[in-house]
Symmetry: C2
Subunit: 566 residues, 2 copies
């Protein structure tokens, strides 16, 4: 009899439950629940576009709804399915998405007094209300604790833990004062399932702690009191009510409470793993291991790698985060990414593509793909920079913008669309080059996320530009699959699960389609990449100095050659 | 009793007749005739997008149709209108648009043998079939006769006289061999009206000769035989069948033939002036004189100035042409221009503006104007280069392309539209700066052409960027008005006309609306212009060397400031 796990994946607008057969990774059934609160699950404020909050009650309803439904589906598929063979649950979430809680770990917004106060809710990852506080944290750290910045690429983000807490302290003294602690939702949800009712006992994820809260064992955990007081008088007492230890997701958070087991129709022996972020668990679901780069291609991209923790690893300039254990035990997790990929294509389709390409977004996408795929590399004469939302890696600079060069009076939308895809691929190659330059070898690239499946043109262009095979993850639900894998490890071999990520991945993950680079395309793109890098370094770095006269000429020469060869 | 003239304006798709009262420039009536041949008057070849020809028979029908109609209209308006008071006719045309003719001046395509052969027709200005020959002419001149290039900005164009003739010789030996001569249509049409039936006796326009055929008195007229033989063996005998003299448009081509007078209902005493190009006569119609820059704003722009021929005038690097008498007697005509202006806006509207801005081109234009006009200078954070069709002045380089910089995920079409308009204004300012730098003072700027009337937003942006009042020509038909003025001069004072352009302009031309620069806008645009010039020089000149890091930062700073001040 097979053993099963449930991966619970909490996204921005909905959550998902996935049942996986741990013997071979078969995805038995899944169920999705859209959060009922706010607008598509996000509580917003018309007066402040930076505000994005979430109601934690949505997660609780989401668990019950989706788990009951997947189990029902599984029973329909396998008449012999026995919930007792459900050995573990793993949880991945967005982040940094901290939540103010009371001493018992109960969200402040569950108190009637605060039920309509967004500051008492989850501060969703994309909440940017703390942008001024983020700048203050970066400046203060640069002055007092430069080591804090070295591991996070040099700049503290408004999306991260301390920016949000500091902003809460600045704008809502009541909520800040009433909050016993702040808990990432990837930590809070497992705690709910296993019935922890003491905020001090909630196991905190090292993934969230290390990437977002400047937690590092080399400086004894969280930022020190002197630093916190420098940020804001009276902030340091919170430190003692947060955490001194952080855990990798292989760790057991606990077992399902009697109440949850009964409600969900599962056994009280179901292990629940410590949580982590979606990208990191997604990388595990896509088969990340030493030498494998996992690219999660969505509105933005997240690039995840691991490197054995017993070998020294240099800081890689411009790479957002290097955290021991953030992906799995005994490995450094390396996180890089591009701040806009799918978002650039969506911006273009929604704003600059006329109806002759179709009347809906989906039709426009389809026709742009069809027409764009007919073009040869270089044929459009266009070159773009992928900085419409700044550059996360390797320049770590939000104050950069997009650029399009080479347009004539004949330039067509599908040519620009293809140039934008190429720009994101050039950006991806720049990250790969940087990581390898600092001694982390990349032996394979596995792609997952919506775009990896939806756009064969994009994946071929990525293979041609990056010059390596682009493998596609077998699973289309890698974060939930990764969460399930950690559920199996939390259960452990003794309960029919696994004892390590690599052991579980060997059975449960894999790749499907592979896009191989076409040599003649790669040859053309090598020339274009050198032009991209020229623009990249010229507009993105202080030290660049040189000439630009060649750029338009070289693009026209490449265009003319592509047309001659057609 | 007032005296009247007719201006005949031959455009790319249609011709126009305009009756003007010479006492005050009142435009009595006009009539437009669309050429019946080809596609919108242009004979094209599906297999060769460079080919653009015209049927000269269309001009002949056009004259009869439009002149008869304007006279009928004039009679309807003024019951006392007497065609005997019609003292002169002037003709302006596109160019360089040469036509192979036989010894009698009859177009070869009027012969049955050649009636379907495009090579025997008019080689329209925008025919680019001679692009390889143009490159050969530039190379040969650079090697053998650099002085030929100095007056035309350094590069011989595929749109010009010799490129077309040489291409005809290369591809159609029969037509080339049968052609006694090649005549610009601005010379051929007056010759038809005055009944010249000897190709050697057709008066050639110095405007066409000087700007397009490398005709200059300092080297004894047309390029010499040695040069022509170097281009192509057997080309030089043609030189003797072209011309040794060229005339300004104040000169009389002759008087209407009996047949034409009868057909049109005019007197045989009607003087017909030597022809010239539309831009040059348009400048006269807009009131050009020393110190006045006339900008003709259309799909491209033509900038025309004059400088007294008795004062030495340096060659101005990058300015297309300086020709003694090409606009009027005793003045150098200075021609500059931008190879795409309205064409860039049309490209954008036709390709990259979705239907939320309207379902027709006109609606999109209207809404882009309305939304774009609400923006403050700098507010979009965008900056563009206006090189989608290369740069005619001051870089004289067709191998340059467009560029857009500063886009984010929120950039809207009307922001880009405004940035494109701004780019053309920055390009216009670069030309003005260059002309003044070489000692030609610009005291006023008069704008004419479709865009000057249709886009108040554009004209205000031009005033704000150029930092000078933008005057709008009173006439909306300046080429035809200019042609009429030359008709009045050909008639001369003795017949109730005028003896000079300045005398005629004093009565017949003027300006209407004036757009004055808004100081705070000009201040912002000065900063943006320095960024434009940085990109312009970096991408457009070999000698530039420097840093680029400031560009995106400065644009974002300007954007933030514009938004704060809103």
């Amino acid at each position: 009899m097979s053993k099963y796990v449930i991966g619970l994946d909490f996204g921005t607008n909905s959550c998902r439950a996935l049942i996986v057969d741990i013997s071979d990774g078969t995805e038995l059934a899944s169920s999705v629940f859209s959060y009922p609160s706010g607008i598509e699950g996000v509580i917003v404020d018309a007066a402040d576009p930076n505000l994005a909050r979430q109601n934690p009650a949505d997660y609780v309803i989401g668990i019950e709804t989706t788990v009951k439904e997947v189990i029902k589906k599984a029973k329909g598929l396998l008449s012999l399915f026995d919930p007792c063979n459900m050995i573990g649950i793993g949880v991945d979430t967005t982040g940094s998405s901290p939540l103010p809680v009371d001493k018992q770990g109960v969200p402040l917004c569950f108190d009637k007094k605060y039920k309509d106060n967004p500051n008492a809710m989850v501060w969703l990852w994309k909440d940017h209300t703390g942008y001024a506080e983020a700048a203050q944290i970066t400046e203060t750290a640069a002055r007092m604790r430069p080591q804090y910045l070295a591991k996070i690429g040099g700049t503290y983000s408004s999306e991260w833990f301390w920016s949000k807490i500091l902003h809460c302290k600045n704008v809502d003294k009541t909520v800040f004062g009433e909050a016993y602690s702040f808990v990432e939702i990837c930590d809070w949800i497992p705690a709910v399932l296993v019935g922890i009712n003491d905020a001090d006992k909630i196991k905190r994820s090292v993934c969230a702690a290390g990437h977002k809260a400047m937690f590092n064992s080399s400086w004894n955990g969280l930022p020190d009191n002197e630093f916190l007081e420098a940020l804001s008088e009276g902030l340091s007492p919170l430190r003692g009510r947060l955490y001194n230890e952080a855990y990798t997701a292989e760790n057991l958070a606990g077992y399902l409470t009697k109440e949850w087991a009964a409600k969900l129709g599962l056994s009280e022996n179901t292990a629940v793993a410590v949580g982590a972020f979606d990208a990191h668990m997604g990388a595990v679901g896509a088969g990340v291991s030493a030498g494998t780069l996992v690219k999660i291609l969505g509105t933005s991209t997240c690039d995840i790698m691991v490197s054995p923790a017993d070998k020294p690893l240099k800081d890689i300039p411009g790479v957002c985060g290097i955290v021991d254990g953030s992906v799995m035990n005994s490995y450094y997790g390396i996180e890089a990414g591009q701040s806009a990929v799918g978002d650039i294509f969506l911006w273009f389709i929604n704003n600059l593509v006329p109806e002759k390409y179709g009347s809906t977004q989906a039709e426009k996408f389809k026709n742009l793909e069809a027409e764009g795929a007919k073009l040869k590399p270089g044929e459009s004469g266009l070159l773009a920079l992928d900085w419409n939302n700044g550059n996360r890696t390797i320049l770590v600079d939000v104050r950069l913008t997009g650029m399009l060069l080479g347009q004539t009076l004949h330039t067509q939308p599908h040519e620009i669309y293809r140039a934008l895809i190429e720009a994101t691929a050039f950006g991806a190659l720049a990250i790969i080059d940087r990581i390898e330059e600092f001694g982390v070898e990349i032996k394979e690239v596995v792609n997952c996320g919506g775009l990896a499946v939806k756009s064969p043109m994009m994946m071929q262009i990525y293979a041609d530009i990056i010059g390596r095979p682009m493998k596609i993850s077998r699973s289309e639900q890698t974060p939930a699959l990764g969460a399930g894998i950690f559920g199996a490890i939390a259960a452990g071999k003794k309960n029919g699960g696994y004892d390590s990520v690599l052991e579980a991945q060997d059975k449960m993950t894999g790749t499907s389609r592979v896009y191989n680079p076409i040599p003649e395309n790669n040859a053309v793109y090598k020339k274009l990449y050198s032009l991209y890098k020229q623009l990249h370094d010229a507009f993105g770095t202080k030290q660049w100095n040189g000439a630009m006269y060649n750029v338009m000429k070289d693009l026209l020469a490449a265009r003319d050659e592509a047309r001659r060869n057609k």
